[in-house]
Each structure stands twice: as structure tokens, then as C-alpha cells.
């Protein structure tokens, strides 16, 4: 009996081992490894079906469609969201439900949508109520939802708030939806400063100097714009308080140009030539010189602070041609950044601090390039269509705005930081130049 038992035991053990080994074998060696390393889609595909309109009466203006358009257009300013064309949708939830229980997510995953946004509009007299919901179609869950109520005229603000929420969910940053755009436009052969929403909507003229006005620059808090103007004949720096409508002037002998604010301080750097040489100085808001930053015979111009304020990029002709340099304000070390081409100017520091956009002046065309602040990974973003100048970053470093003469007249364009989707931002009378976005919290 005992032997029999043991024999049986022995066999069982062996069979067990056998099975175990064969299984482990299957787990370890069955897989074929395949490398997949070229994501074809560079943006997150999102479906935004028609908004449901709960207004009982017949409505004159389709605020649902209006809000949807604002949402689609707004999300395009993230630089990483692409709304799938409505024609591809196989199902319209506006007819039935917009909540999680009512949505069949397979209808959306099958067209490739990774997220779904539904909306409901209710008009209450002059006010409007907008409900917006964001869903993950593959995980089939509700991510976030908001209800906004406000005047019909504020519909853009409400929808852009939701864009901010989506941006924050995906990247941890609020995006540029609260940002304002400052730019120069010609008015009757003069150049004046305008301010618009981040996407070029609602442009308003804020200077009436009837003169040449150039190089506007936002202060970090969005309260001040510094610029150069010829109002009094000489190129002087003007600092305009947007809320109080006050203007002060910094006018040394010679040129007073290219102002740039120190981040989070009411101190600015600018190029002055009163000494007979173009050097960069640090100035108080009242125009008192704090210190001289560059000290080199030859043109030193276009200061641009790093987002942490510890470094300054500028253009210098010290090597014989205009090139971009970075000076460390702590160690006073100066390092040349650009070596390609013999005319590189107008550095613009990305808000993540890693990259500089600049203009490379070529024989036939000026193009915009991006380069790492260590001088590596130089990429050309515009491709020899007209002259492309005045690069400036969005506060989330996803977009670059610039001016281009590719369609003849100089206009303001926008593109992603990798140079994709270059498009015209706004078309006003005359020509527009020198765009710059304010930081997120402008005018809040």
C-alpha cells in the first residue's frame, strides 16, 4: 500500500513538474517582440458632436453650434488636440443623451476618438447656460464636467474656461485661453499697438501716437506693455499701464529700443545707445539705469530673459555677424548659441525654458528656427515662404506666433512648436507685425 501510494505520488509530482515547465516555457518564449516606434497621429483625436439645445422656443441664433465652433477652434490652440471632422461621426448624441449611461462608447472608439465632449445649451432670456462633459471613450468613463452660466456675449469666455480645464487635465497646465495677444498694425501709414484675445478675436487699438511704434512687450502680470515709439521724433521706450491708461517714457540720447521685462518684476532690459555704442541695460520702470548688462563694442540688442530670470539671451555682432548669445547673470559668463548662418536675431525664450526661437536671415528669405538653449537640436520651422519674423511663444510652450509675408502683406501667423499647422491668425486692414502673447494670468 505504502509503495503504491508513493509510486502514485511520484508520478503526480513528475506530471506536475512537466506541466509547470511547459507553462513557464510558454510564458517566456512564445512572444515575438515587435518594436513600434512611429506614432502616426501627432495629436489626440477628440470627437465633439453637436450640442444639445434645451431651449424650448425656437431660437434665432444657434448658440449650440456657436459654442461648439468656439470649442473646436479653442482646442486647436492647445497644439495637441485634433477634433475629428463631424462627417465621420456615426452617431449624434444630441438627439438622445449626453451622460455616461446614455453613451455607447463603441460608437466613438470605432472612429478613432480617444475622448468625447458633449454639450448642452439652455438659453434663459439674455443669459445662457452651458453644460460640458469630457469622457474617455476607451476607458468608458466620465472625466470632468462643468456648467457655466453667463451673458450670451460671454459665450467665448465660458467655452474657453472649459478648454482650460481640458488642457489642465491633459498636461497640468491651463493653456493660453486667458492669454492676450499684443501686436502692431498699420493705421493710415502709422504703426499702432493693438491687443486682442489669444486667438486674434476682438482686436482693439491701444495707442494713438500717429507715429512709428515697435516691439511691444508684456510685463509678467499683464498690466504693462513696454514698446518703442517715435512720438517725439526719437525712438524712445514707452511704458503703458493698461488699466490706468498711464504712459511713461524712457528717452535717453540715441536709440532706446527692444524692451523686455524681467519675469515677475517691474524691471526691464533694453538697448540704449547714449554712450555711442549699442549696449543692453537694466532699467527701472521709471527709466533709471540699474546696471549695464553687456559690455562689448559692436551692436548688442534684443534682450530676452529666461523664464526664471537668471539668464538673458541677446543679439550681438561681437563676432562680426549678428548672432545669438546667452549671458548667465549670476556668473556673468557669455556663451554663443547660434553658429549656422551669418545673421541670426530676435531670440524668444520658450516658457519651459528649454528652447529659443529666433530668426535666421537668409539670402532670399528669413526663417524661424528653434534651438536648444545649449545650442543643440536646431530645427527650421518655416520653409522659405516669404519673410518670417518676430517669433513669440505661447505660455504653455506649445505654440509659436510670428509674422510672415508669405501672402504678400505682413500678417500674424501661428504654428505648433514643431512648425506644424501654420495658419494666419487674423486679418486686419494694413499689415500686422510683432505679435506677443501675455502670460496666462493677464488681466485676471
Amino acid at each position: 500500500m505504502i509503495i503504491f501510494f508513493k509510486k502514485k505520488y511520484y508520478i503526480i509530482i513528475i506530471i506536475n513538474l512537466f506541466i509547470l515547465l511547459s507553462f513557464s516555457n510558454a510564458f517566456c518564449k512564445d512572444y515575438t517582440y515587435i518594436n513600434i516606434n512611429n506614432p502616426f497621429i501627432k495629436k489626440i483625436p477628440v470627437a465633439i458632436p453637436d450640442f444639445k439645445n434645451r431651449t424650448s422656443k425656437e431660437y434665432k441664433i444657434d448658440y449650440g453650434e456657436k459654442a461648439r465652433q468656439i470649442l473646436v477652434n479653442g482646442l486647436s490652440f492647445t497644439g495637441y488636440i485634433k477634433t475629428i471632422n463631424k462627417g465621420a461621426y456615426i452617431y449624434m448624441p444630441s438627439k438622445t443623451g449626453i451622460t455616461k449611461q446614455e453613451i455607447n462608447f463603441k460608437n466613438w472608439t470605432i472612429i478613432g476618438a480617444e475622448f468625447l465632449i458633449t454639450g448642452v445649451i439652455t438659453e434663459i432670456k439674455d443669459n445662457i447656460k452651458i453644460e460640458l462633459r469630457l469622457f474617455d471613450t476607451f476607458k468608458e468613463n466620465f472625466i470632468l464636467g462643468k456648467i457655466y452660466t453667463g451673458a450670451k456675449s460671454d459665450i467665448r469666455i465660458m467655452v474657453h474656461r472649459f478648454c482650460s480645464e481640458i488642457s489642465y487635465y491633459l498636461t497640468g497646465e491651463k493653456g493660453i485661453f486667458n492669454s492676450k495677444l499684443v501686436f502692431i498694425s498699420t493705421v493710415k501709414k502709422n504703426k499702432e499697438i493693438f491687443i486682442s484675445d489669444f486667438d486674434g478675436y476682438n482686436p482693439k487699438q491701444i495707442t494713438h501716437h500717429k507715429s512709428i511704434t515697435l516691439s511691444p512687450s508684456w510685463s509678467s502680470d499683464g498690466q504693462f506693455v513696454a514698446y518703442t515709439s517715435y512720438v517725439k521724433g526719437n525712438p524712445d521706450i514707452y511704458i503703458q499701464n493698461l488699466k490706468k491708461q498711464k504712459i511713461s517714457r524712457i528717452g535717453f540720447k540715441g536709440v532706446n529700443i527692444t524692451p523686455d521685462w524681467v519675469p515677475n518684476k517691474l524691471v526691464l532690459a533694453a538697448c540704449l545707445s547714449y554712450s555711442g555704442d549699442h549696449e543692453i541695460y537694466l532699467l527701472t520702470i521709471k527709466g533709471k539705469i540699474i546696471k549695464r548688462i553687456t559690455n562689448n563694442w559692436g551692436i548688442d540688442i534684443s534682450p530676452e530673459f529666461s523664464p526664471d530670470g537668471k539668464k538673458i539671451a541677446f543679439v550681438s555682432k561681437r563676432s562680426g555677424t549678428p548672432q545669438i548669445y546667452i549671458k548667465d547673470l549670476d556668473t556673468n559668463q557669455v556663451k554663443r548659441i547660434t553658429f549656422n548662418g551669418n545673421y541670426n536675431t530676435s531670440p524668444a525664450w520658450s516658457l519651459d525654458g528649454n528652447r529659443l526661437a529666433y530668426i535666421g536671415v537668409g539670402k532670399a528669405h528669413n526663417n524661424i528656427y528653434v534651438i536648444g538653449t545649449d545650442g543643440s537640436q536646431c530645427i527650421q520651422l518655416t520653409n522659405n515662404a516669404g519673410n518670417n519674423e518676430d517669433p513669440a511663444w505661447s505660455s504653455d510652450s506649445n505654440l509659436i506666433t510670428f509674422t510672415s509675408t508669405r501672402e504678400g502683406v505682413s500678417r500674424i501667423y501661428v504654428m505648433t512648436a514643431s512648425g506644424d499647422e501654420q495658419r494666419c491668425l487674423l486679418k486686419l486692414e494694413g499689415s500686422q507685425t510683432d505679435p506677443e502673447w501675455s502670460l496666462v494670468n493677464a488681466n485676471n
Binding site: I3, K6, K7, Y9, Y10, I11, I13, I14, L17, F18, L21, S22, N25, A26, K29, D30, Y31, T32, Y33, I34, N35, I36, N37, N38, P39, F40, I41, K42, K43, I44, P45, G79, Y80, T109, G112, E114, F138, L170, T171, S397, N398, A417
Partner: protein, 284 residues
């Protein structure tokens, strides 16, 4: 395990004790048998896996794609040769020869041995004629194919010389054996290579990834194991390795989900297990 040791030690004990216990001896023989069975089993399992048309490591690159196409071209070549062979002159001569053969056949039906010899000769003549014909076409591709054809025919001759055949039948049969026979083992790995390329293309096309949202594109790697059924359906999606970046992991998971179903598996595959290693290096 303890019992195993005890059994083995008991077996040795049995030897030491001079086969005192017949039961122990019996047990020892059984254990030996089982051991052999066990190790043989292990051996076959290894073999089984590699032979199970699951290539262990497949290098998927453009090279293999090109070689694939080459193979296909080669396979189709004999047909074109056939066409050239069927050019008027040749076909005439062939027809004449076959007629002659048939006549001979009918005449000498009873004397089998002589038929064999004569048909053999006639087939030689036909091959020579073919040689001449193809030599006239000086394109390299055809020459290559001719060389192969010759070899094949020679093989055929040596293998099947004992079988009596008319010359007109000999050459097409040689062609067909070439087309299917020699390539069989290579074709299977090419099939699955081609299939791998299809998977890569399909998943890449469904993969939406933005490095700005990920915050980085460096050192991101996620491995997802999937099982593909015969009809291309994806089953058992599971992460073998996470990248640690939530957005990246989500994006690759969605890419796999979106790619369902994949193309049907090549014939002869009941299922196919793949580990997809995702890295966004393709982005510049």
C-alpha cells in the same frame, strides 16, 4: 520533494542491498523510465515551441520586406518563362517532337524498355531546344531562371528518369515542382514577417501620441503582450512593462484597442502571441 529523495535513496539502497527488495527494483526501473520520459518531454517541448511556427526573434526591417518581394517575384518568374517557351517557333518544334514521340509510343507500346530510352532522348532534345531558345532572350532575369530551370530539370531527370514520360509533360512538371517545393520552409517565416509588418503599420497608424502632453519623449518604453486570433481579433491585452508615464501608457493601450481587429493571420496559424514594444523614437 522529500519523497522523491527518499525514493531515489531507496533505489540506491536497493542496489547496495543486492536486489533484496524486488519492489524497490521495480520502482527504480519505473523512475528511470519516467526520468527518460520527463527529459524527452522537456526536449520536445523546446522543439515544439520553435517548430510551432512561432519564430523566437523576428527582426523586422525593410530588408526582410524587400527579400519578401524578391521571393514572390521569383515564384512568378517560371510563368513568364513558360510564356517565352511557348513562343511560336518553340511550340512548333515541341509539337513536332511530341507528335513524333507519340507516334513512337504507339508503335513501340509493347517494348517498354525501348520506350523509356527513346522518350528520355527526346526529352533531352527538347531541353536543348529550350536552352537555345532562352539563350536568345538575353535578359539576366530569364537567364537566372533558366539556370534554375536547368538544375530543376536535371534533378527531375535524375529522380524521375525511371518513369516514362513524354517530353511535353516533363518541363511543366519541373516548373511546378520548383514553384512550390523548394520555397516552402522560407515562405512560412516570410509570411509571418510580412504579417508583422502589417501589424506595425496598422498600430502606428492608430497610435496618437503627443510629446508635449507626455512632457517628454525620452526613455519612454511600454511593452504590451497580445494574443491574436486566427481572424485577427486581439485578445488578452496586458502590460508586460509600464513606462511610468500615464499618458504614454494610455496612448499605447488605445493604439492597440483601436487596431482591433488586426489582419487575419496567415494560413497555418491557430493564434499568434506578440509583445509590442512601444517607444516614440520615430518622432523627431
Amino acid at each position: 520533494m522529500n519523497s522523491l529523495y527518499s525514493l531515489i535513496s531507496r533505489g540506491f539502497l536497493a542496489i547496495n542491498n543486492g536486489y533484496k527488495n524486488k519492489h524497490n527494483l521495480f520502482l527504480y526501473v519505473i523512475s528511470l523510465f519516467l526520468h527518460i520520459f520527463f527529459f524527452l518531454g522537456l526536449f520536445f517541448i523546446q522543439n515544439f515551441n520553435s517548430a510551432k511556427i512561432f519564430p523566437q526573434a523576428i527582426s523586422v526591417n525593410l530588408g526582410s520586406l524587400v527579400s519578401n518581394f524578391k521571393e514572390e517575384i521569383n515564384i512568378s518568374q517560371p510563368n513568364s518563362v513558360k510564356k517565352s517557351i511557348n513562343s511560336p517557333k518553340l511550340s512548333k518544334t515541341n509539337k513536332i517532337k511530341t507528335k513524333a514521340n507519340l507516334q513512337k509510343k504507339q508503335k513501340q507500346l509493347k517494348k517498354l524498355k525501348s520506350i523509356k530510352k527513346k522518350s528520355y532522348k527526346s526529352s533531352n532534345v527538347a531541353i536543348n531546344a529550350k536552352k537555345k531558345q532562352v539563350k536568345k532572350n538575353k535578359t539576366d532575369a530569364l537567364n537566372n531562371v533558366l539556370a534554375r530551370l536547368k538544375k530543376q530539370v536535371e534533378k527531375n531527370k535524375s529522380k524521375k528518369s525511371s518513369i516514362a514520360k513524354t517530353s511535353s509533360n516533363a518541363s511543366p512538371s519541373a516548373n511546378t515542382t520548383y514553384g512550390y517545393g523548394s520555397n516552402k520552409t522560407g515562405k512560412i517565416s516570410h509570411k509571418i514577417n510580412l504579417y508583422n509588418l502589417k501589424i506595425i503599420s496598422q498600430i502606428n497608424q492608430n497610435w496618437a501620441f503627443n510629446e508635449r502632453v507626455a512632457g517628454t519623449n525620452k526613455n519612454l518604453e511600454a511593452i504590451i503582450g497580445i494574443k491574436i486570433l486566427k481572424n485577427g481579433q486581439i485578445r488578452n491585452i496586458q502590460f508586460e512593462k509600464n513606462s511610468g508615464n500615464k499618458y504614454f501608457d494610455n496612448s499605447v493601450f488605445k493604439a492597440v484597442k483601436k487596431s482591433n481587429p488586426l489582419p487575419e493571420l496567415p494560413k497555418g496559424y491557430p493564434f499568434y502571441k506578440v509583445a509590442l514594444r512601444f517607444t516614440p523614437y520615430g518622432l523627431k
